[in-house]
Amino acid sequence: MTELQQPLSQLQETSEPLLDAQKMQFWLDKAVAWDQAGGAHAQKDILRHLRGLTDFLKQVLAQISNIGSTAESMKELPFLGQIVGRLCWNPYVTVGDTNRGLLLQCLWGLYSENPSNAVERKANQWIRKVLCRLATEEENPAAEILMKSTGVPPKEYHLRVLKKMVKQHQENIGKTCCPKKSTDPSCRCSCDVIQTTSEAFVPLIDCPEASPVICSLLQHPGTSFTDALSEDFLDALNSTDSNLALDETALVSVWYHSLPRLEEAVLDLLESVISTGSAPQNLEQQVLKTQLPKACAHHCSMFLVVNDIFRSILRQAEGNLVVQSVIQTFTRCFLKELEELEPQAKTYICTFTMNNNLLSAGKSQTSTSLKAFFPQSPPSLLVPLLTLPSEMPQEAWKNHLEWLTASLQRLTEQEEEEEDSQSSRSHHNGFETWFLLVQCSHWVQVAGELLVTSEAEPCSPLLWLLTFYYHPTNRWHCRAAHLEEAKKAWSHLHALSSSSVVSPTADHLQPLITLLSPKPQPPSPAPLLTLSLTVYSAVFCRLPHSQSVEFFHTVVHAAGLHHEAACVLRSLQHRLNEGSCSSSDTVHVRITKLQSTVTHMQAGGNSHTALNSRAQEDTPAVTKLSVKKQPLAHVRPLAEFPHNINASHSAEAE
């Protein structure tokens, strides 16, 4: 659908009250003044009013579409023809996609397919004439003669002139700055040139041919160079509806300067992952492709904002595995980028893994830079959780997880005690502890693996960790009940995986299926915990492939949690494939078999059981999140963060 064919109803929805004569007179005066006056003052006035003009044109359009005929429109909206006609010849108005599109839509709105009177016939003729002149008239006779004599079409000519102008501006910016501009802080750029050029390019912000200059202006985020950019330029970046064709550095700079653009990039990532249901390998590529991890590693403030967006989304979509998976992948990619940028951040983590004294290591060796990136996370847990399992000997995993669980238990108990005394801060801290676990959920996966392979006791801390991951809040004081349910599920699974029964019947599996079904009253643990336990059991148990696949198939099929099972399997597979983490071939074969079972189940449809449809209704776990592209009010402009990270986050907590 082109901009000219957008349903007018969309515009009507957002339209304000009807236009009055005063408003029409105001815009007529403006159009006349802009037409007659030239120079810098008029240009500034036009730029200042461009956004207001957009709103006005939207109102005009909405009103025209409500009025039956052009003749009536002309009567109800005095001076409309004059205003539109004059604006069509104002290059500052017609250069931008939005206002040009709206002006053209106004012309279409005034065009009568079947003119019924002289006014409408005259209007039609006028519209045709305006459009023909706009597209074909040449104002420079010398250029026109040369074009004709040399056989160069106007389209090519004007494009070449524009590109040349853009190149000249780009070279001028280049000349303004010394070659070491990005690395040498003592090198000062001429702010005037940046200011003037950024001012000149405000109306051209969505013009693709202008993007080289816009990229050059945005080359060095956070330096004195970009601080000289005009306010109007930054406003235009924020408000343009079009996609900007920018290179990587410029894009990062746009994010640095424009919070809505950064928000849009994060929401676009979430939306694309949710809509495509990417495999983890693809997810990592998808995340890296956005350049967000790299940008965040370079700019702590950006990382803080991105995490604020994630927090907000997580609160809206509790238990959504895809969102959690994006957050985990993003954090991992971010840490890799940070390591390249600041090797010392990694050194702290490595030192930690070499040190057997886990408690003291966690407390004393948290990198200052990491603290800046994770100001709200419990400091004692930061390095132990950010450490990747592949960075630690496998023999140490169990101790590490037990230590992590003990720390988490202690923290949550403390917070719950405070919560009872009505402290809102404790609730906030509880969320932050869990958020860090979501960011580092590789340890949750390791806990699931160890639970099966080490044949842990049902009261194992590992089970507590998994329960906490899926049920972070102790809402209605249900944690104990959730843990009980988890123990029950684990006991069933343990019995199944060590059973000598060749083919477990539905009776054998029924208790497990019952646990997987959603329940209406609290305590109602989401089936995801039981499902994850089932997946870990099916993958790591010692049963032959066929038996493991069979009980997995029966349970997942009966519960109708195909998508969720696939999601857990994909995350697990990705972790096992990653880095130095070597697991046996049997495990990989098993995962592949289980995945093909899920694929088969998904292909076969999932409408066979009542439980299935219920599960789909009740579980927003994987696909049922629609990311709302609305400004997140609690997220503050980036510029505030670098100076006072902790203060701004304290404010957030309040």
Binding site: T2, E3, L4, Q5, A40, Q43, P91, Y92, T94, V95, D97, R100, G101, L104, W108, Y111, E113, R128, L131, C132, L134, A135, T136, N140, P141, A142, A143, I145, L146, M147, K148, S149, T150, G151, V152, P153, P154, K155, Y157, H158, L159, R160, V161, L162, K164, M165, V166, Q168, H169, E171, N172, T196, T197, A200, P203, L204, C207, E209, A210
Partner: protein, 342 residues
């Protein structure tokens, strides 16, 4: 070749229908797209034959024949020449927009937003054609007040490139040099008002292409033409910034010599005003003050040190011819020399 001629004839007929016939109101998106496809075909024909005299003549003959037939069919018919072929897409656009039967739906396509996801490749090319053109023109106008970043404005630079390309083509065909001269006359000697712009175009043509360090035959031709066109040279000398004149003199010996000759001519036309105690321009000489004249000589000698000694000797000889007096106001050459030596 026969097929090519047939296609060219059909494409020209198509242009006529687009401009003058009400049948065009029946065109759907695909027809529109095909029409633009044929317009681009004509552009290829031009590219293929414009440097091939024999081929060009055959195409021109075909065009004459088709034009004659179409003149009979449409009273207001505007003929299509060989030089129109590379601009056929634009001619088609002009034809469509000037046809009162053009359906509004077609207009909406032409003035729409570029739709990259369009199903039809060609249709994609047509969508937003006018919109993009308006955007480019507007963008040039918006950036125009900020020109002056380089010695020559962007539009003059592009026009200079166009001029040289066409001159190259004309000279490479081995055609009559008069044709090339006629071309230069037609595009550069337009009017008094346009003279300054023509100076910039010539400057761009001489400076842009000379980046490689080699003077092309087209530049040489343009310089010869300039030597004959005193008015244009005079205009360049009196209006272009000294930095540009220095660049031109450095890059082209012919320009240096012509410019030096012109400066001598202007100086010779100066008269000493006893009332003002100053040398003033007379006759056809540009209205440069004596001080400006000295600066021109000085800049020229700075740009071309090799010229300085011979030129100073020449000026000295002229001073001697005037009686070799050192008193101010008796010989313009003597006064220029004494200013240059300060």
């Amino acid at each position: 070749m026969e097929a090519v001629l047939k296609n060219v004839a059909s494409a020209v007929e198509l242009l006529a229908v687009a401009a003058y016939s009400d049948a065009m109101s029946q065109w759907d998106e695909k027809t529109l797209s095909r029409a633009f496809h044929w317009a681009r075909y004509c552009e290829h024909v031009y590219t293929r034959f414009h440097t091939n005299s024999a081929g060009r003549r055959v195409v021109e003959k075909q065009l004459q024949h088709t034009n004659a037939r179409l003149r009979d069919a449409f009273a207001d018919y505007r003929e299509v020449s060989f030089m129109d072929l590379p601009r056929c897409e634009h001619l088609l656009l002009l034809a469509l927009l000037s046809n009162p039967h053009l359906p509004i739906s077609t207009m909406k396509i032409l003035f729409g937003k570029k739709d990259v996801a369009s199903r039809y490749y060609d249709y994609k090319e047509v969508t937003g054609l006018c919109s993009h053109l308006i955007q480019c023109k507007s963008a040039c106008k918006v950036l125009c007040p900020f020109s002056g970043l380089s010695a020559v404005d962007a539009d003059a630079e592009v026009q200079g490139e166009m001029l040289m390309k066409r001159l190259d083509a004309l000279l490479s065909q081995g055609s009559d040099p008069q044709q090339a001269e006629h071309f230069l006359h037609s595009v550069l000697l337009l009017s008094e008002e346009a003279a300054h712009h023509s100076c910039l175009v010539i400057t761009a043509a001489l400076l842009t292409a000379s980046d490689s360090g080699t003077q092309t035959s087209s530049q040489s031709f343009l310089l010869n033409w300039l030597q004959k066109e005193h008015g244009m040279l005079q205009h360049m000398g009196s209006t272009l910034p000294s930095a540009v004149l220095k660049d031109l003199a450095r890059a082209h010996g012919k320009f240096r010599d012509a410019y030096f000759s012109a400066l001598k001519k202007w100086a010779s036309e100066m008269e000493y005003s006893l009332n003002d105690g100053e040398w003033l321009p007379e006759g056809t000489a540009p209205s440069l003050s004596f001080q400006e004249m000295v600066e021109h000589f000085s800049d020229l000698f700075d740009a071309c040190p090799s010229l300085r000694r011979n030129a100073e000797d020449e000026l000295l000889a002229l001073k001697i011819l005037d009686g070799d007096f050192d008193a101010r106001g008796l010989s313009v050459w003597g006064d220029i020399l004494s200013e240059l030596k300060k």
